[in-house]
Symmetry: C2
Subunit: 314 residues, 2 copies
Amino acid sequence: MAPPDNAPRTGALEAGGTKCICAVGGDPDEMRRPENRLELPSDAGPQVLVPRIVDWFAAQHAREPLHAIGIASFGPLDLDPASAHYGYITATPKPGWRNTDWLGPFRHAFPGMPAAIDTDVNGAALGEYLWGAAQGLSDFVYITIGTGIGGGAMVGGRLCHGLLHPEMGHMRIPRIAGDTFPGICPFHGDCWEGLCSGPAIHARTGLHAEELAADHPAWHTLVHYTAAALGNIVCTLSPQRIIVGGSVRKAGALGEAEFFARLHEAMRESLNGYIAASAILESTDRYVVAPALGDDAGVCGAMGLAQRRLGDVV
Amino acid sequence: MAPPDNAPRTGALEAGGTKCICAVGGDPDEMRRPENRLELPSDAGPQVLVPRIVDWFAAQHAREPLHAIGIASFGPLDLDPASAHYGYITATPKPGWRNTDWLGPFRHAFPGMPAAIDTDVNGAALGEYLWGAAQGLSDFVYITIGTGIGGGAMVGGRLCHGLLHPEMGHMRIPRIAGDTFPGICPFHGDCWEGLCSGPAIHARTGLHAEELAADHPAWHTLVHYTAAALGNIVCTLSPQRIIVGGSVRKAGALGEAEFFARLHEAMRESLNGYIAASAILESTDRYVVAPALGDDAGVCGAMGLAQRRLGDVV
């Protein structure tokens, strides 16, 4: 399942809500070298970014050939290979990004080169499976809590797609009594993303998550709602582990370790003994974890998508 | 994927919260003949039922040999083949059934005969996949709303197990404003099962679902909560179809067709355009459906589990 020692050099793009990370290489260490990476803010929009990104990969390809391209992008994406819009971002509320073709410009610039695309969170899940906190597991979930909330899942050893792909951030969860914050999701108001994404925290408190004091009540709200959502994921998918990435889990002055400790406690309370596996109730600290690849899970996973397209991994 | 014309004769047991259905045969038609079936109320408890059930299969086996046994049971189940309690019902709140060994008595009575066990809802999912409303799909969910609420899932062509198995009925969903019914789940109070199972409807109204008048407000409550829960399943698993079985969906005086029509409408409202697949928004009536096998999905699925163990199907 691990890539071979001389893994082929591939191009990897993680397109996130905040930034796009481009990288080339054959393994996570190689991709982390500054000369092998480019980061660009997503707010510049696709008309500016897509050509810049493709040009950068073309320059890397000229320097030393790439053998495949992998893209892990925020969504919703059209992942139906039979569709005319396969490889497009579709109905995103993110300004300027609706109906953005990711795969087409790469296919045009690199004719004949294998190219793969999946959601950013499925990509991050694959990265953690190959090189991180999900090695050896067949069933797990990767959650990001950042500009948006999303989840990728591996089920029975395969990345879950289904009809489209999961949109776990749009799950509905019970409100805390007395919490009147309406939520910010343009579709649902107070779904998980509408209550707990970075922009939702900002709308609620006037502060970014990293600016909140350690004793700010918003931490309780965030932890409580997130525990309820993760509990619903446990009930629905029965994962062997849940990895929580994205910027919000770093939790500023509260700190990542304390954020996870509170999340573990809230999940035990929420599940209340019914899901009887000791893995959850007695070892919650190993059940809900931060990504071992840190903020590089997604771009590493994009590399995994590319390598998998070449038949080298998974 | 379909069984061969001369499918092997197998024994199939569906152990549900209300009754246990035993059957023998090679296809759904054969299993439906009265001489090939036995139904027993689950309230008799395992000390009475398990020997009676095993004896009945032994008599069938003596009449004409069985080649495998399949069991689809209510849970939670221990489905870890490496566990000392593999094939047991574990922490069920159902009186008398805790720590019931299903697989052991069959292995003792039929030494060497292949035997398979899975949840009742995974069994029903497999039945609908082989002979019913999920033929040709790779990703779908089977929900039962009856004595309890549970869900089975096929993801990427495989039945989902994960750490244990899903327990979809214990999902938490937002309360309707002003609904003060506390719910009846002994673990969580107002989880989906605590609000919408048959016993929950009885606790709320004093009536069984089949006794409710067509204009009883409990129908709105049931439809609203169930739509929210199914919406969460769409967000988490992105199924190609959801099959809703169990006794409650028959909906007494309201009628099954009207129950599903209201459920479709409530799901469209709940998803509110975000999950953009036309399969859901434009064809909800084909997206959320009743089981094609009716109340025999589970026992047919148990037969599918047995046949699969023999390598004949899936």
